[in-house]
Structures are given as C-alpha cells and as structure tokens.
Symmetry: C2
Subunit: 416 residues, 2 copies
C-alpha cells in the first residue's frame, strides 16, 4: 500500500506542490507542446534544448565541417563516453556500459554470449509477460546456440520453482511494460545466482525513472532503451551493461570492425578490443548518439533519488485522484506498493482504446496496450503536479461524457 | 585501358568541362567547406541542404510536436519507404529494399538466412581482401549455423576454381575498398548460380556511384552503406536487398518486434511481416533515417548513367594529371579499364600516410588505407573538374616539397 496519507483534492494544492518541487526548473529544458499533458514519456520522451543544440553541432560543425575527420576527433569514443554517462543512472562503474545499436540487438548479443558461459546448461528462463521482442530474439539466439536450448517463458511469480542446474540464463524486464510492476532486482538476481545461472536484466522501462544499483545487486548483464525515460529520440541507440568481471570473458557474438582491437589495421581475423568497445559492431549513427548525449545532460542536474521521490508522488497523486473522481471506472493494475511500482500507472478498462483516443483528443497523451490497458507514464523531469490534476480532470470529462464510445474508436488501431 | 583520349592539361580546360557539366548545379545542394577539396566521399559524404531540412523537421515537428504519434503517422513506414527510394539506384524493384541497422548487421542477417536455404552445403566463399567487418561477421554467423560451416577467404581471381556443390553462399564486395576495383556483377553472379550457390553482394562502395542492376544480374541478396556515396551522415543506416523470389522464403535470423506481422498485438510468438518489413528488428533511429531521406533527394535530379559518366571522367582526369605532373611518384592501383573501376583512385606510395596528412594540411581531403594506399574518392554530385585539377596541383606541391616526410607523420595514426 502507498505508505503516505495523500490528502490532495484541489488544483491549488498541486500548484503548491509544484512551488516546492526542486525538479520544477528542469521542465524549462524541454520543448513541450503548449497546453498538452504528455503522459507517454515511457514510450517516447520529448525533445530537450540540449538535444537540439547537440544535433545542430553535428550537422553544422562535426559532420558539416570536420567531415570524415570527425572519426578521429571524438566519434570513435562516443559509444563508451555515452555509456559512462548512463552508468551512474544504473549504478554501474565507469567502463561497464556502452551505447549503440537497438535494444533487441543488445539482448541478442548478451544472450548469445551468456549461453557460451554455461555450456552444460540448456534453458533460458524468462517471463511470459515479457516484452515480445525479447522473446523473439531469445528464441532466435537459442536456435543458433550450437546445442539444444529451450526458452521457457513462465509466470514470473513462479520463477524460483523453475530454477535448477539446467538453467543457463534468466532474462527479465525489470519494469513490466504493460502493468508498470517493478520486480525485485536484488532478490531475483540473488536466487538466480544461487542456482548457478546468469542474470540479464532488460531496463527499458526503468532507466532514468527508477534508481538501479547493478553493482550492489550483482547483476551480470543488462541492456536498456535510449528513447523512453532517457529522452534520446525515436529509435535512439540502446545501451548494454557488462559487469567488469565478465569483460574479456563474455564474447560479443555479433562482432564487427569497430569492436576490433585495431579497427584501422584492417586485419582479416577478429580480435576484440579491450573493455566495452568490443560490444560495438559497426558505425552507430553519430547524429542519433549526439541526440542521446544532449538528452543525458538534464540528469546531471538532479539525482535518481530525487527523480524517484517525485515519480512516486506523481503516480500516487494520479492513482488517488482517479480513485476520488472516478470510483469504479477503472481497475488499477499497477502495484500500489512503492517498492513494486515503476514510473507508470496502468488502468484496466473494457474500452481502453477509446478512452486513450478520446483523451488524446482532449490534450492528454497516454497510450493503449492491448487488450484493455490505458497506460500513463510519469516523467518527473518535465511533469508538474498540476499536470496530473488537469489530466484527471480531462479523464473525468471523457468518462462522464462517454466520448470513449465514439464509433471511430470501435475498430481499434493500436499504432498510435 | 581508358578508352578516351584525354588531352586536358590546363585549368582553363577544366573550367570549360565544368561549364558543360549537366550535374554542376547539384553542387549547390551541398554544404561544403570553402576552399577545401573533399575527395573522401567514399568514406563519408557531406551534408546537404535537404538533410538539414529533414532533420530539422523531425526535431521541430515530427518528434517535437507529434511525439509518440509519429509512429502512427509515417515513422513505421520509413524503413520500407527509404528502401524504395534506394531501389532504383541498384536496379531493384519496389518492395525489395529496406533501410535499417548497420551494414554489418545486415550482412549477419543475410548470411544467417542464406545458410538455411542450402542445408546440405558447408562453405561460404569470400574474398580475402574483403572489408574486414564482412569477414568477422561471416565467421561469427558460420559458428552459429547449427552445422559445420567453413568461411573460405580466397583470392577472388580464383573464384571459379573454388566453386563446387559444397558452396552454399558467395559473398563479395563489389568495389574493393582499398583498390577501387569493381568486380563483374553479372558474370560472377552467373557462375555462382551455375554452381548452385547463392550470391550476396556488399555494395558499400558502389551504391550511388556505380550503376547496378540487381534484377537483370539475378542477384539474390545485397546490402549497402548509407553514409558513403549516399551522403546519409556518419553511421547512417544501411540497406538490405532481398530479391522478390526469396521473400517469405529467406528468414531473418535476428527478428524483432517491428518486423512482426502485427507488432502492436504483442504476441509471444514471432510471425514475420510480409515483404521487407520482416527485416526490421527493433526501432531504427528516426533522426538518422530522416537524414538519409534528405540525402537521397539529389539522386532524383539526375540518373546513375549521368553520375557514372562524370565519375569516370573525373577519375580519368585525376589519373591523367597525376601521370603528367608526377611521373614515377605513384603506382596507380585502381584499374584503368572503365568496366573494372569504381569511383575512387588508389595510389600506392611508400609514404602514403604522410602524403595524405600533408595533403589534408593543404586543403585536399583523401584518406590512407594501410599499409601504403592513398585513396581518393570522386563524387560527381559535388566535385568539379577544377577541383581535380587543383587537387593535383596541391599534390604536386606536397611531393616536390617532400612535406610528406615531416616527422609528425612517421608514427602513423590511421584514425583520421
């Protein structure tokens, strides 16, 4: 249960909360649509001023003027440099994180590498409610492992009962993309290690929103997304974490020239570069990396502790106000316990698609997840308490007017 | 041998050639450094005005205002839409090309898929002088094929003698990245097919510079680079070509959610989308795609035939002037026969690194390829005949002053 007694019932109280909010000045760093309340930063974060500046610098100067010389004056180091900027957000040490590719490719690399470290084991355990792309790529890598590997997608609440000495790897997404439930990073990593298996976490819905400490949790491998709470732009590069102890041990199964120890010696045989550089395959988009680089600036003006505190306050407030104003309309799917909550609230409703569409029409952007979830993401960097209040007001208008039943919404089109 | 008698010896003649050049107006589309002659577009092409506009549009409007709604209003189709824009440049039909990922990943996907189509064969034949990233990823995919596969890297001139009924796939780079030699697309594809093998071409140094007709050549698969002659920006997305007959037959071995038939239904089992969409894995950078989209505009104002004619005229002129002005200084490594030449000229010199560094200091950008190659790329879209003349003048200054022997260049640092 939420441990604080929440008494907010008026917009004025929300204004007061914003006035006390130490993160409030950060909102000015983002280029937001006037009048729109954006509760979808868990899908795609907005543009910041620093992103704009960094992309301009690439086009006007780095690429524009230096041209190919850019590779000699900074671009080669971007994947590791950005990795080191993300490292503090997940509790990693310098030299343990790298940015490149997309999240699915990073999962592919880690799964392929990890299976080689447990050659006598034949099972990957994962969550049947996992993000589907993780499931697809694990199946694909299992088929190419060189030995029979079974991907067992189970109910994650029964994880312990499936752990045994045939499990090579456990892969879980830390915050469920539908429900917003956050799993117990420390405890799960511990029991997986007790069974002699390796632990790979997908932090797509955690990084930048939920404090993580991979070092103290003993996490082996992780990967995450650049375009959700990190605000790096649509299709921003992903990141990969390989615990220091596994570097030089875990092999990148999809190697390329930029991960070679001497890429410009053009040697016919692959020899991995030291450290995380070996996890680069070929040239990542420098424009996309620059956008993510700019997006990371704002995180240096606050802490994950402050972000988490405001995130919980925002989601508490949303849940409370929905309960006050719309009793009986929705089932709150997201756990109420703070320790089990990510930075989103999922509400179940029979007409979820219509509710989201009608809300977007009313200037509140959330998203729909099939079959019946209204999903709202709360990003403390740019959302105000009054935004939460106003969003619920507009939700009340949608529900009381029943505009969500509009026939335009009956044939759902989830690509929104 | 070059079939035309070249008589150009003066700058005035080059000015006259520029005045007659139908491609000359296209130069104004590029944002070039004043006074610099850029002969490295075969490594990284320059920024164009359309790239600037397209990236601005993503930041200001598509991402900036539409935010997550961008996925519903154009972004999902970008990989196939850009593929269809590249298709005419390689002679592909609509629906046969897709843009995403990086070139090495695309080679990985094609090799993994192709090996499954020849399950009784055990050899991949390739060129030992191939770009090294192709060699690394083929070795890696061979190790994960589920059966013993040998990657035989041979002298490509002996290709025919290595073809037999154990060869599953032949992978070759069409234009050699060091020498600029162009291979015979039609003849090689034909003999490979005669042996019952599949043919995969790497068009990194061909696309946008050399006319290609994959349809009439009967090419099975190909991939190419977005940041060389296509000018899509550093680390621009790559493209992949899968001949129509293989679609639905060739499987993408690295599948992801955006290649699913119904990506927003979040189904636990992968089912490939129809056509090229199945070759997308997860979200490509929309900013990077937008840059490449802008870069492709200029190709709609000319033809590959016109580009090729000027490319040969520029490289002929360069070879001729170097021979006239610097007899005995360099060995021309690039074939003189037009049919065997890409759009670059490689000159061999004992002090190649110093020559390139001194030339860059003099405002002519070429590049060095270990151990002894000075490499000059000629992009007809923005290079003038006077640029070739002036570049050779500056090369003469470097060679006669022996500035290439400067001690700064003795320890070569190839990352330039």
């Amino acid at each position: 249960m939420g441990s604080e007694v929440i008494t907010v019932t008026t917009r004025e109280q929300c204004v007061a909360l914003d006035e006390q909010d130490e993160l409030a000045p950060l909102r000015a760093e983002f280029l937001l649509n006037e009048g729109e309340i954006y509760l979808d930063g868990n899908s795609l974060g907005p543009v910041s001023r620093a992103v704009r500046q960094r992309v301009d610098d690439v086009l006007d100067h780095q690429w524009g003027e230096q041209l190919v010389r850019g590779w000699g004056s900074g671009w080669m180091a971007q994947p590791t440099r950005l990795g080191d900027r993300i490292a503090p957000l997940i509790g990693a040490r310098p030299g343990e994180v790298l940015v490149a590719d997309t999240l699915t490719f990073m999962i592919a690399k880690l799964v392929g590498g990890a299976l080689n470290l447990r050659p006598d084991r034949h099972v990957i355990l994962t969550d049947r409610a996992n993000f589907h792309s993780d499931l697809y790529i694990m199946e694909a890598m299992a088929r190419r492992a060189g030995r029979p590997i079974t991907v067992k997608a189970i109910d994650r609440s029964n994880l312990a009962s499936h752990l045994n000495d045939d499990v090579a790897l456990v892969e879980l997404t830390h915050v469920d993309f539908r429900t917003g439930e956050a799993l117990d990073l420390n405890e799960i990593t511990r029991v997986v290690h007790e069974a002699g298996a390796l632990m790979l976490w997908d932090f797509a819905h955690s990084t930048g929103a939920v404090p993580l400490d991979v070092t103290s949790a003993g996490v082996d491998f992780a990967a995450g997304c650049g375009y959700k709470y990190l605000n790096g732009g649509p299709g921003a590069p992903a990141f990969v974490y390989v615990r220091r102890e596994f570097q030089g041990v875990l092999e990148n199964p999809l190697p390329g020239w930029l991960g070679h120890a001497r890429p410009f010696d053009f040697e016919p045989t692959y020899e991995p570069a030291a450290g995380m550089q070996a996890w680069v395959t070929s040239s990542p988009s420098i424009i996309a990396l620059a956008a993510l680089d700019g997006a990371l600036d704002v995180f240096e003006r606050t802490t994950m502790t402050a972000i988490r505190a405001k995130s919980l306050a925002l989601t508490d407030l949303f849940i409370e106000l929905v309960g006050q104003r719309l009793p009986g309309h929705f089932t709150v799917v997201t756990p109420l316990e703070h320790s089990r909550r990510g930075s989103q609230v999922a509400l179940r409703h029979e007409h979820a698609y219509g509710v989201i569409q009608a809300l977007i029409g009313g200037g509140v952007v959330g998203d729909f997840r099939a079959p019946d979830i209204c999903r709202f993401g709360f990003t403390p960097l740019y959302l105000r308490f009054v935004d939460v209040f106003d969003a619920v007001e507009r939700l009340v208008a949608v529900m009381t007017s029943e505009s969500y039943l509009d026939e335009r919404y009956l044939v759902r089109n989830a690509v929104t």
